[in-house]
Symmetry: C2
Subunit: 217 residues, 2 copies
């Protein structure tokens, strides 16, 4: 096993944003009179917004979905000042880059969200590439974003690992043939991540950094 | 096994409030310059506020703790209009009361929060008793609130079950000799609840209601 590239999810993995996403979506769904219990919203975070709405609301008119998406975006925009980097996030990316591995951020966040996330991370010089919603038609759990990230890294699936925090990260990476190491910092429980197929689970990227040699092999 | 009383936690079990508590505490901790990753805040929710601050901040000056508690209370007060009852919550309490079981709400929420929770639940005629922060010196994971709830129910620990959503509910009930059935609606994962000692885990109280005969024996 020779890992040459590490693909990182951002939300909940490098930046503490998942609970802000839960809040923004929960409020948006309440405001279109389709309130959903928050724990179910939490479990849907990390999936494409179309998939998230399908999971949470089932078949509803497009007007309702569009309105919910708009409200979610404006709710989330208000929460952006509260974004913070997660422990170990900067350190692990800089360590991997120093070791000569290619770090690709594999997210399908829309451009305006991505800009805020990258500003919080402040890691530009260590990043080989960054994907965004503009790169693919469909986001996680479809494998497209992972395949794009692999292309940018210029490596085969077998030579990369994904680091993520959501069941959707694991599923998307698996479909692209990439193994996933997970962190608990997104709020998903250890067993749920192992059940999805994560090869290992750490508290956060600080914890992963301490076990990096074991993971990279 | 003859269950004569059912003790319910409210936050995250009957009312969808845990994620609002995460938001209120996270913001309060950021505002006293002691930001903590949200997933760790989530795992501390359900514990007494003193215990929660000890878990999240360790030893910090009393002024910092007091300020954080004040900010949390005012943040949460603003979120109260978003409180909603969880699926099955009203139905299960009314079913148990109709069957002649004593339902006691075993919470250590402060009086002003409790009032809002009871209003959202709208279940007064089905409740045998309700505890609050005023009844005990120390809240979960200490067993005091569970012991008070048992006294109000007038039954022995062996004749009651606890229904809760947090590891703290399970620990507090176990210390009082009461078995706990858990729900996932508070956001804690199934395995974490089983590891703490839950005798069974259901999605929410609607799911528990469907399996009530198995649980009551």
């Amino acid at each position: 096993m020779s890992v040459r590239a590490v693909l990182f999810d951002i939300d909940g993995t490098l930046v503490d944003s998942n609970f802000l996403h839960v809040d923004a979506w929960s409020k948006a769904l309440q405001d279109v009179d389709r309130g959903v219990p928050s724990w179910r919203v939490q479990r849907a975070i990390g999936a494409d917004s179309e998939k998230l709405l399908q999971l949470l609301l089932g078949d509803v008119p497009d007007e309702v979905k569009d309105r919910a998406k708009q409200l979610n975006s404006s709710n989330y925009a208000e929460l952006i000042p509260r974004l913070d980097v997660l422990p170990g996030a900067r350190e692990i990316v800089s360590e991997l880059s120093t070791r000569g591995l290619r770090v690709v951020l594999a997210t399908s966040a829309p451009p305006e969200e991505l800009e805020a996330l990258l500003e919080v991370l402040d890691l530009d010089e260590h990043l080989h590439a960054v994907t965004s919603a503009d790169d693919v038609e469909t986001a996680k759990p479809e494998p497209d974003i992972i395949e794009t990230a692999l292309q940018r890294a210029g490596v085969d699936a077998a030579d990369a690992i994904m680091v993520g925090d959501a069941v959707w990260d694991v599923i998307a990476a698996k479909r692209a043939g990439v193994r996933t190491v997970c962190v608990l910092s997104g709020g998903t429980g250890r067993q749920e991540l192992l059940d999805a197929g994560a090869i290992a689970v750490f508290d956060d990227t600080a914890d992963l950094l301490e076990h990096l040699d074991e993971v990279l092999g």
